[in-house]
Symmetry: C2
Subunit: 188 residues, 2 copies
Amino acid sequence: MKKTDLRVIKTKETLHEALIHLLNGKPLTDISVTEMCREARVNRGTFYLHYGKVEDLFEEYFKEIMTDLTDSYMEPYRHVHILKTQQLDPSTIRIFHHIEKYKKFYRIVFSKSVPMSYYYLLFEQVNNLLNEDIRKYDLSSIDRDMMSAYQANAILGMAIEWHRKDFQQPATEMNALLVSILNYHLQQ
Amino acid sequence: MKKTDLRVIKTKETLHEALIHLLNGKPLTDISVTEMCREARVNRGTFYLHYGKVEDLFEEYFKEIMTDLTDSYMEPYRHVHILKTQQLDPSTIRIFHHIEKYKKFYRIVFSKSVPMSYYYLLFEQVNNLLNEDIRKYDLSSIDRDMMSAYQANAILGMAIEWHRKDFQQPATEMNALLVSILNYHLQQ
DNA sequence: ATTTTTATTGAACAAGTGTATAATAAAATT
DNA sequence: AATTTTATTATACACTTGTTCAATAAAAAT
């Protein structure tokens, strides 16, 4: 595939910067395309050449954050089988640290007015990692896709509750909580 | 509190009907306020007197569906402790039957372009029921809000995966799957 | 039945949306 | 360095949005 035109890269970068700048002043849903383009000094027609709405721009930005979740955080721990809870170390899953690091963006991702698409991106990322984890280590006959969807969204449920409490607890405490919840199921 | 004006009730009803009618032809996100009001033969100004955007109208509608989830389905089973998985009967949780019943609406609720608000309504409903369940029967020292958020969203994770497969499996099979996943955690 | 209250309407407004077109300028190709 | 390709721009268009206002009509209160 041929590499993208320099002008496109520059335009998108400028728009990204403008978005981040505007997000300091108002919620994502309140930012109009016109305002974005005025701020970025980019023609409105150019915007529509690359995106459909302001939310698409944030989605593109969030996808970059998603690669950080996989590359920097989850990847080095993938050798540990997450669902074998007995041997689960709190440091196994780094998702809470990741969310804490990008707290500013996850306040947007978890806000009720934004489209579901961001949540789905996050869900799919965690889901794929766990699904792969199950494929490698799990011999159970239970539907693997359901199993990973269950487990992945359970963790995101904690993230939602964490967000609701405005990320008060430190990420390490969230990890510890996850471990104790997983262990609780065994102790019953 | 004084009861609402008959005209308001009539207007809202007409708008609801128009929404349902339009949803047969196009996705929620593609329906404009103007189109809605043209269809309902309601003045656009009147719409803005009650709602802010088309999505709010669907939210109002979805809230009615939510009461069905609590009243008709979950309420009669609340005496059974859901998290005590050993004694969990597939019929304990009726959420999958509820979703199957309102399949048409949940295709919208789980679609990626709609706002998170519908998902949050659903989450809070299930979350509250499980939270109450834990309060009644659980003596564990684990953060109750986190525990219920974890468990509630885990179930919704299955619903998301179910939706992704376009609700192929029957609800009874989803119940059985939930039970086997919960039991698997114990059998490890 | 008459009066009072208030929801709905129609009209008008500035601003935003989404799309199309020709002119321009910047990058890629030769 | 000259040429070709294409992203960006300025402008214009019909349409939607969100709000305001006085006039009207429907419901509630007397």
